[in-house]
């Protein structure tokens, strides 16, 4: 007997009816502030995963899920170890460029205006373009007793949402800045608050002696006969906090563009923004916006044409703007430099700043009989270098390499050379990984072109003339690569183990810590399981070994430290690692902070397992841990807690003011 499959049609009348009922409910909905556009943008900026990745589920073809760890060998003894010590980088072959780039600085504003107009027109019509390129330390007496931000390059400070000295905690939460007296953990209290309203919110801070530098996201508006055009701006505010209860603003510097990153070297603050020229048809708006402006907030000026550089074939009306500001001297001239380029990842050594962006190659496609530009897998990374010699910013060259970078840890400058590790998605969607070495003129001297085909890079760490790269498909190799010869970088050894590391941290010259995920296979596909901490012995680069590992949590466990190095707390002196963890217990999301003790022979021991009690929402997610002497502090937008580092008994708690509702919705409200 033949069955006829009954065609089930959804009934439009039913839908309409339901829609009407739902509309009544719609009007009662209370939209949470935490997911308003401005806050989502802020949250996205806090995590630094690059745009290219996670496009494909991890496919398992091989039967065992192993991790391949590449050891790129070092022959030259290690000159650089990450830590709280001052770095000694030999840069004698890295000469500061003098006048060699004058030929590509802009000759006049008219020249730039013509280029911007052309680029904006191209943006509208979708034409494709191809492009083919101080040291500050805390007083060393306190270094061991006070935790610091986990920075990439010793001597180059990075802004973060939490900073501390030996008595006070400084935290950015929900766009405001709180200064907390933590001298007595059981009686923590907020001594002052610097709050931001409307379109301004604080992103992150620096602490330098008695100054607190606050990086603030903001917007500038241009009015033109009833229309408002908004452009992103970033403000660097300097506060004198000698009297912690009464911070005094001593400087306010505003720069066009959305905040990309910043660094500090001594008293020099480097502010990097990305300024996109608004695409307006109004002549008045065009004239006011095609050149980025910066300066003290009440006296911003357009950047002079000769400080604007036009690398070959810019493909978008976008500038990278870099300024150097001495935060202790308001009279000292600020140096600013801009390049017509995009910029999203920033790596800085003591001498140079490198800003990278990704360019997709687009091609015409027919989709539903319409001609549409779609992106291909052909990605290049464009690198713009700025010299920071003597605290003065100047343009120092551009280079392009194929592929995309995982994050800023894929880059390093050492011994006069710049190294960058990328992943390309080649023909037929096969991933391949590369490592490029560039000289002080940004020219390629050597490369490795075919690392781990079929896998992509998950983490990179450079240690002097050695690079460690973790790639993964279902197998995660750790590669050790030798960079001692800039013309011939080569793979020395590799290790295959289950799971993969998303973040690598040097423990010592011969030991490397990896934080990542464990993986398992199901029906031919690999998926991530719980978190995994590994200790790798790389003393023999030809044969890297995993000495020990420890796992935590089940599937769907996550840590911010996987992607944001600032969430990873490390202290060699105390031999501890700390990081936040989100895990699920049945249907409940649990927020935790874990502290492990490291034993170089035996591995890791879980000492602190801090769990947030009560009703969990995003405000209670622990974002950072920091310590002063023997007290550990954990930070969430809801509260700061203190614990003894000896036995992890809770010693104090400070609730932060609830986030404001209403006005903080963001730069545009769509209803």
């Amino acid at each position: 007997m033949l069955f006829k499959r009954k065609q089930i049609q959804s009934d439009p009348a039913e839908l309409e009816e339901l829609q009407k009922v739902m509309e009544k409910l719609d009007s009662s909905i209370d939209y949470p502030v935490s997911i308003a556009p401005q806050n989502i943008m802020r949250r996205i900026r806090e995590k630094q995963k690059p745009a290219v990745y996670n496009r494909r589920p991890i496919k398992a073809v091989v039967s065992t899920a192993l991790c391949l760890i590449l050891v790129i060998a070092a022959v030259i003894p290690m000159a650089v170890l990450h830590g709280n010590k001052k770095t000694v980088i030999k840069t004698e072959s890295l000469k500061p460029p003098v006048n060699q780039y004058d030929d590509i600085s802009a000759k006049s504003y008219d020249q730039i205006k013509a280029i911007i107009n052309k680029l904006n027109t191209q943006q509208r019509t979708g034409t494709t373009q191809n492009t083919k390129a101080a040291a500050t330390t805390k007083s060393s007496a306190d270094a061991a007793a006070v935790s610091q931000t986990n920075i990439q390059v010793s001597g180059v400070d990075e802004a973060d949402i939490v900073k501390n000295d030996d008595q006070y905690l400084y935290m950015v939460s929900n766009g405001n800045v709180y200064i907390i007296d933590a001298q007595s953990p059981a009686k923590m209290n907020i001594v002052s608050t610097i709050s931001y309203t409307g379109f301004e919110f604080a992103q992150e801070v620096f602490l330098f002696k008695n100054s607190l530098v606050i990086l603030v996201n903001s917007y500038g508006s241009i009015y033109d006969s009833g229309r408002v055009v908004a452009k992103g701006q970033t403000i660097a505010e300097v506060y004198d906090i000698s009297d912690h209860s009464h911070p005094k603003k001593t400087r306010s510097f505003t720069q066009d563009g959305s905040y990309i990153s910043s660094r500090m070297n001594g008293a020099a603050l480097y502010l990097i923004t990305n300024y996109y020229v608004p695409n307006s048809s109004s002549e008045k708006v065009k004239n006011e916006t095609y050149i980025p402006k910066c300066g003290n907030t009440s006296a911003m000026k357009a950047i002079p044409a000769q400080s604007i550089y036009i690398p070959a074939q810019p493909d978008a009306p976008s500038y990278i703007v870099v300024s150097s500001i001495d935060i202790t001297d308001n009279e000292k001239k600020v140096s600013t430099c801009a390049a017509l380029s995009g910029g999203y990842n920033v790596y800085s050594s003591l001498e140079n700043l490198y800003v990278t962006s990704q360019k997709y190659n687009y091609k015409k496609n027919n989709i539903n009989s319409k001609s549409v530009m779609t992106s291909t897998d052909d990605v290049t990374t464009c690198i713009v270098r700025f010299s920071l010699k003597n605290g003065v910013v100047s343009y120092a060259g551009t280079a392009s390499v194929k592929g995309s970078v995982i994050n800023r840890y894929a880059m390093d400058e050492s011994s006069g050379h710049f190294r960058i590790a990328t992943t390309t998605y080649g023909d037929k969607n096969i991933m391949i990984n590369h490592l490029f070495v560039l000289d002080d003129k940004m020219k390629q001297t050597g490369k490795i072109d075919d690392l781990a085909p079929g896998e992509r890079i998950y983490s990179v760490r450079y240690m002097g003339n050695r690079a460690y790269i973790v790639t993964f498909k279902t197998v995660d190799p750790l590669f050790a690569i030798d960079l001692s010869n800039p013309a011939k970088p080569k793979v020395l050894g590799q290790l295959k183990i289950p799971g993969f590391s998303s973040y690598l941290h040097p423990y010592s010259e011969n030991l490397l810590i990896g934080l990542g995920n464990d993986t398992a296979e199901e029906n031919g596909r690999a998926h991530t399981e719980g978190l995994k901490l590994s200790l790798f012995d790389v003393s023999d680069p030809l044969k890297p070994r995993e000495i020990s590992n420890t796992k935590y949590g089940k599937r769907n466990s996550y840590s911010a430290a996987l992607y944001d190095s600032h969430a990873f707390l490390f202290s060699k002196e105390k031999n501890i690692i700390g990081f936040p963890v989100n895990s699920y217990n049945a249907s409940d999301l649990i927020y935790k902070y874990l502290v492990y003790k490291i034993n170089p022979e035996k591995g890791f021991e879980l000492k602190g397992n801090i769990q947030v009690e009560g009703n969990n929402n995003f405000q209670s997610e622990i974002k950072r841990g920091a310590f002063i002497d023997n007290t550990l502090f954990t930070f969430s937008d809801q509260k700061i807690m203190s614990f003894s580092l000896a036995d992890f008994q809770k010693t104090g708690e400070l609730k932060l003011p609830a986030s404001q509702g209403g006005n903080h919705y963001g730069f545009r409200c769509y209803d």
Binding site: R5, Q7, I8, Q9, S10, E14, L15, E17, L18, Q19, V21, M22, K24, L25, D26, S28, I29, D30, Y31, P32, S34, I35, P37, Q38, I40, M41, R43, I44, P50, A51, V52, Y53, N54, R56, R124, G126, G232, S258, A316, G342, Y344, S357, Q358, K359, Y360, N365, V372, M373, T374, S375, Y584, S587, N615, N616, N617, F618, G666, F667, Y670, D671
Partner: protein
Amino acid sequence: MDENSQLLVKRSKSGDAEAFGELYALIWKDLYRFAFYTLGKKEEAEDAVQQSAAEAFHSMGSLRDAAAFKQWMFTILARCCKRRLKAIIRDKNNFSLDELDAGGIVIESGSDQDEKISLMNALQTLNPQERVAVMLSVVGGYKSSELSSVLKRPDATIRSQLHRGLMKLKKQLSESE
């Protein structure tokens, strides 16, 4: 999708969080409503939207056609909600008034209070697939033909889930009157 939005998508793909924020601003309330009705709890919905926004931004590379941004965002959000739904449904059955008050709906006293409660309760009787399918239609505005590309399941399966879901809701709502 207008050319300005196309440009925003291009910028987002290169990692521009501000551009992504503008795209998100166009649809964020729809996203939240979808998550809230599907998951039934404010915190869960917040979580889902946050996670999906971050996931979307970081995987913008996989968005080929800029015009499909809204649909693509809903796909990610729907996936996220389905994952959570399975866990939630295992443990909870019905809404109580307490949960609704805390859960992000402002219930004023009045004649439609009961109606709102019964609607939320009715939603609970749907299984995850039905709930997602119904919400995508009602909140996301998707036609059933479009749903199959969002949910990555055959057209006929989606339509039957949608139909069953609507029937169940209708039944629940009329019974509670």
